[in-house]
C-alpha cells in the first residue's frame, strides 16, 4: 500500500507532496493517470465547428477515435469545412462525479493505513468516508484546432477540484503536418511537440488516451504503473519534439525525444516539486500498421521509451549533478486494435501490453528500492460497443504484475506490485450526432463505471498488512479478520459521471 498509503496520508494532511520516490509518484498518478483522471479530454466542440462535422465522424464514443479521427489528428488538427470564424478555436469542459467505494475508509485516525477517513484541509469534493460528490471534478479550457496553414494544436489546461484543487497544464499536442507524394507512396508527415508520452498517438490503445477515459480521483488505485502510464511524471513535466510519417494510410512511423522542463516550471504547474525528474533526453519510438477495408480497421503496433530518471527528483542536488546515478527505465509496448464501424454499430477491441525494465541503481542508493533490477508488466484488454454513437458499453480487463521488491513495495502484500481486475462502463452520449439547436457543437457523456479488483497491490484478502495504529499496533495481523482488515474487493468503485464539453 506504499503509494496509496502515502498519497492518502499526504492528502489527509493537506500536504500535496508525497514522499519523493518512484512509487510515490506512481501512486499519485496511479490514481490520476493509470486510472485516467486528470488525463482525458476529447471530442472537442472547436473541432466540430472547424470541420463542420458532428463528433461521430471522428469518435465512436469520445474519446475513442475512428479511422477518420486518427487522420484528422495526424493531419495536424487543421482540416476544415465548418464555420470560419477566424477566431481562436476554444472549447470548455466540465466533469462532475459521484464516487462510491465498496467499503468505507474506516481505519483508525492516526494509523499508517491509507484507509483512514480523510481529514481537512484540502478535501475538495469530500463528502463521506465512502461517498464523494464533486460537481467540478475537472474544469478545462482547450485550444483545439488550426492555428494557421498546416499548423494546429490541442492544448488543455485543467482545474481539478478533487483533493488537490489545483490548476494544471494538461495534455497538449502541437503539430505541423503536410503531405508528400513520392513515386507510389503517399506520405502524411508531420512535426510534433507534446508534453506527455503517447498523448500524440492516434490509437486509443496507448496510455494517454486509453480506457478508462474517466475515473475517480477519490478511489484508491493500484500503486504500481509503468512510466508510459504516467508513473513518473504528468503532463508538462516533460516536453518532446518529434517527427512522424504515415505512409499510404497504412504504415505509421514516429520518433520523438523527451526532455524535462525546469524544476521551477514543474513546481508551478503541479503545485509542488517534481517527484521524479527526467535526466537528459529520452528517446520515444512508435511503429504501427493499420489496414482499413470498408467498415473494418485493424492496427498492430509497438512503441517504447528509454529514460534516465533522477528518482525522488533528487531535491537536494541540482539537475545533472556529476557522478550521481540515475534509474534507467525502459518501456516497450505492444498494441492492437480492431474496429468495425457502420452507420448504426461500432465495435472497438483494444489490446495493450507494456513491459518495463527498471534499472534502479539510484533508487537502491537512496533506499527507495531493494533490487537493482525490477520488471513491471501491464496488460489491458478492452472491448467497446456503441449503438448509433449514443449508447456505449465497455468491458476492460487489466493486469499489472512484476517483481516483488521489499522496499519499493514495502507495504504491499508479499511486497508485490500485482493488481488485477475488471472495469465496466455504460454511458449515454446524447449529442454525438449533433448537439442542441442553440449549441450544435456541444458534447456530453453521462455514465457509470464500475471497477472490480480481484487483486490489489499484491493482495486479495489482506491488502494493508503492514498498517499500524497510532500506538504501533498492527491493524490487520497476518490476514486474520479484524475490523480493519481490508480485501481487494473493498476497493471496488462505482463512479457516476456527467461530462460536458462545449
Amino acid at each position: 500500500m506504499a503509494g496509496t498509503n502515502e498519497l492518502f496520508n499526504a492528502m489527509h494532511a493537506g500536504n500535496k507532496m508525497p514522499r519523493p520516490s518512484r512509487i510515490g509518484a506512481a501512486a499519485v498518478v496511479g490514481l490520476a493517470a493509470f486510472m485516467g483522471a486528470g488525463e482525458q479530454a476529447s471530442a472537442l466542440p472547436s473541432f466540430a465547428r472547424q470541420t463542420g462535422q458532428t463528433c461521430s465522424t471522428c469518435h465512436t464514443a469520445f474519446p475513442q477515435l475512428t479511422p477518420y479521427g486518427r487522420r484528422f489528428k495526424l493531419g495536424g488538427y487543421t482540416a476544415g469545412g465548418g464555420i470560419d470564424t477566424q477566431l481562436p478555436p476554444v472549447s470548455f469542459m466540465l466533469q462532475s462525479q459521484f464516487t462510491n467505494i465498496g467499503r468505507s475508509l474506516n481505519a483508525p485516525l492516526g494509523s499508517s493505513s491509507a484507509y483512514a477517513p480523510p481529514q481537512a484541509p484540502g478535501l475538495g469534493g469530500y463528502n463521506d468516508t465512502n461517498n464523494w460528490t464533486d460537481f467540478s471534478s475537472q474544469v478545462s479550457i482547450f485550444y483545439g484546432g488550426k492555428i494557421w496553414g498546416n499548423l494546429g494544436a490541442f492544448i488543455q489546461a485543467t482545474y481539478a477540484q478533487d483533493y488537490g484543487e489545483a490548476f494544471n497544464w494538461d495534455n497538449s499536442d502541437v503539430r505541423y503536418a503536410d503531405t508528400l507524394h513520392i513515386g507510389g507512396f503517399d506520405v502524411l508527415w508531420g512535426l510534433d511537440f507534446n508534453n506527455n508520452p503517447t498523448v500524440q498517438d492516434p490509437w486509443n490503445t496507448t496510455p494517454a488516451w486509453g480506457f478508462p477515459f474517466i475515473s475517480s480521483p477519490f478511489a484508491p488505485g493500484p500503486a504500481a504503473a509503468t512510466m508510459l502510464e504516467g508513473a513518473d511524471w504528468g503532463p508538462g513535466q516533460v516536453v518532446s519534439a518529434g517527427a512522424y510519417a504515415f505512409i499510404n494510410d497504412m504504415l505509421y512511423l514516429e520518433f520523438s525525444a523527451y526532455g524535462a522542463t525546469s524544476k521551477s516550471f514543474q513546481w508551478a504547474i503541479t503545485g509542488g516539486p517534481p517527484s521524479n525528474l527526467l535526466s537528459g533526453v529520452a528517446p520515444y519510438y512508435r511503429v504501427a500498421l493499420e489496414k482499413n477495408w470498408g467498415e473494418h480497421s485493424l492496427e498492430v503496433g509497438a512503441y517504447g521509451m528509454n529514460a534516465n530518471v533522477i528518482t525522488g527528483g533528487n531535491q537536494s542536488l541540482p539537475v545533472g549533478t556529476f557522478g550521481w546515478p540515475t534509474d534507467i527505465i525502459t518501456d516497450n509496448g505492444f498494441d492492437a486494435q480492431y474496429q468495425w464501424i457502420t452507420d448504426t454499430h461500432a465495435v472497438t477491441l483494444r489490446a495493450n501490453y507494456i513491459i518495463e525494465r527498471q534499472n534502479l541503481v539510484s533508487s537502491v542508493l537512496q533506499g527507495f528500492a531493494a533490487n537493482n533490477v525490477d520488471y513491471l508488466r501491464s496488460l489491458k484488454l478492452s472491448g467497446e460497443y456503441v449503438y448509433k454513437n449514443t449508447y456505449a458499453f465497455t468491458a476492460t480487463y487489466f493486469n499489472i504484475n512484476g517483481t516483488a521488491d521489499m522496499t519499493l513495495y514495502a507495504p504491499n502484500a508479499n511486497f508485490s506490485p500485482n493488481s488485477e481486475g475488471w472495469m465496466f462502463d455504460a454511458s449515454y452520449l446524447p449529442f454525438s450526432r449533433g448537439g442542441p439547436s442553440f449549441w450544435p457543437w456541444a458534447n456530453a457523456r453521462i455514465g457509470l463505471t464500475y471497477t472490480l479488483y480481484t487483486r490489489f497491490n499484491g493482495g486479495t484478502n489482506n491488502i494493508d498488512p503492514t498498517a499500524v495504529d497510532v500506538n504501533g499496533t498492527t491493524l490487520c495481523n497476518g490476514g486474520s479478520v479484524t475490523p480493519y482488515c481490508r480485501k481487494a474487493s473493498d476497493n471496488n468503485t462505482l463512479l457516476a459521471y456527467a461530462w460536458f464539453m462545449w
Binding site: T57, P67, G82, T85, Q86, W148, D186, E295
Partner: protein
C-alpha cells in the same frame, strides 16, 4: 459548486470566441483578431482526412482521385439538397455540403478529377469474367441493361456520369444495394437499373469494377 463562477465565465468566453451561430460559411467574422489572408488552392485537407491522403478512398469513403469533376459537383449538390440520403451520406457528407460554397466545391472537384486513380482491386477475382459480361452485355432477358452504354467501355465515365473502374468493391456493392432499399431515388436511372440486379450479380459487377484500371479495362 463553489466554482460555478468559473463555469459561467467559460461559457461566456466560449460564446464570444465562437462567433455568430448562423454565420455564412467562410464569411469573415467582424471581430476577427487577425486579418489572415486566404490560403492558396482548394482546401484539399478538408476531404483527404476521410478520403485518403491522395484521395484513393479510405474505409467507407470512396476514391475521389480520377472521378469526373461534373459528377463530384452533382453529388455535392445532392448532398446539399439531401437527395442523396444513404445512411453514411447523412452522417458525413450532409455536414460537408452544408458549409461548402459551390465555387469551392467546383475547385475541389476539378482538383480530385486530375489525380491519377489507382484500382482498389478488393473484389472477388473469381467473379471478374462474370462481372465483365454483365457490365458489357447486360442480361436482356432479365431486363438488365448494359452498363457500358453510359459508363463507357473502360468504366471511365463521362461528364456527370461517374467513373466506376477501380472504385472499391464494398463501396460499389453498398451503392447498388442501397438503391434497392430506396435510398437516393433521384439518381435516375440507377434506382431502376439496380432493382433488376440480384445479390450475386451485384457481387460480380462490384468485383469486376474494383479491378478495373486503364490497363485492365483495355484488355
Amino acid at each position: 459548486m463553489k466554482h460555478i463562477g468559473l463555469t459561467v465565465a467559460s461559457l461566456v468566453i466560449s460564446l464570444w470566441a465562437t462567433g455568430p451561430l448562423c454565420a455564412q460559411p467562410d464569411a469573415s467574422y467582424p471581430l476577427a483578431l487577425l486579418p489572415l489572408p486566404a490560403a492558396n488552392g482548394p482546401p484539399v485537407k478538408n476531404c483527404t482526412y476521410c478520403h485518403g491522403v491522395s484521395a484513393q478512398g479510405l474505409a467507407t469513403a470512396p476514391r475521389l482521385a480520377g472521378q469526373r469533376a461534373a459528377y463530384i459537383e452533382k453529388e455535392l449538390s445532392a448532398f446539399r439538397g439531401h437527395e442523396r440520403d444513404n445512411p453514411l451520406s447523412q452522417l458525413y457528407m450532409w455536414n460537408v455540403a452544408a458549409n461548402l460554397k459551390p465555387e469551392t466545391g467546383r475547385e475541389l472537384a476539378v482538383y480530385f478529377s486530375q489525380l491519377p486513380p489507382r484500382a482498389a482491386a478488393d473484389g472477388n477475382r473469381g467473379l471478374f469474367d462474370e462481372g465483365r459480361a454483365l457490365y458489357q452485355q447486360g442480361v436482356p432477358n432479365a431486363n438488365i441493361v448494359t452498363c457500358v452504354v453510359c459508363h463507357g467501355p473502360n468504366a471511365e465515365g463521362v461528364r456527370d456520369i461517374p467513373r466506376l473502374g477501380g472504385l472499391s468493391y464494398l463501396y460499389l456493392k453498398r451503392r447498388m444495394e442501397e438503391w434497392n432499399k430506396g435510398y437516393h431515388p433521384t439518381a435516375r436511372p440507377m434506382p431502376q437499373v439496380a432493382r433488376e440486379l440480384s445479390p450475386a450479380e451485384i457481387d460480380a459487377l462490384a468485383s469486376y469494377l474494383s479491378f478495373l484500371d486503364e490497363e485492365t479495362a483495355s484488355k
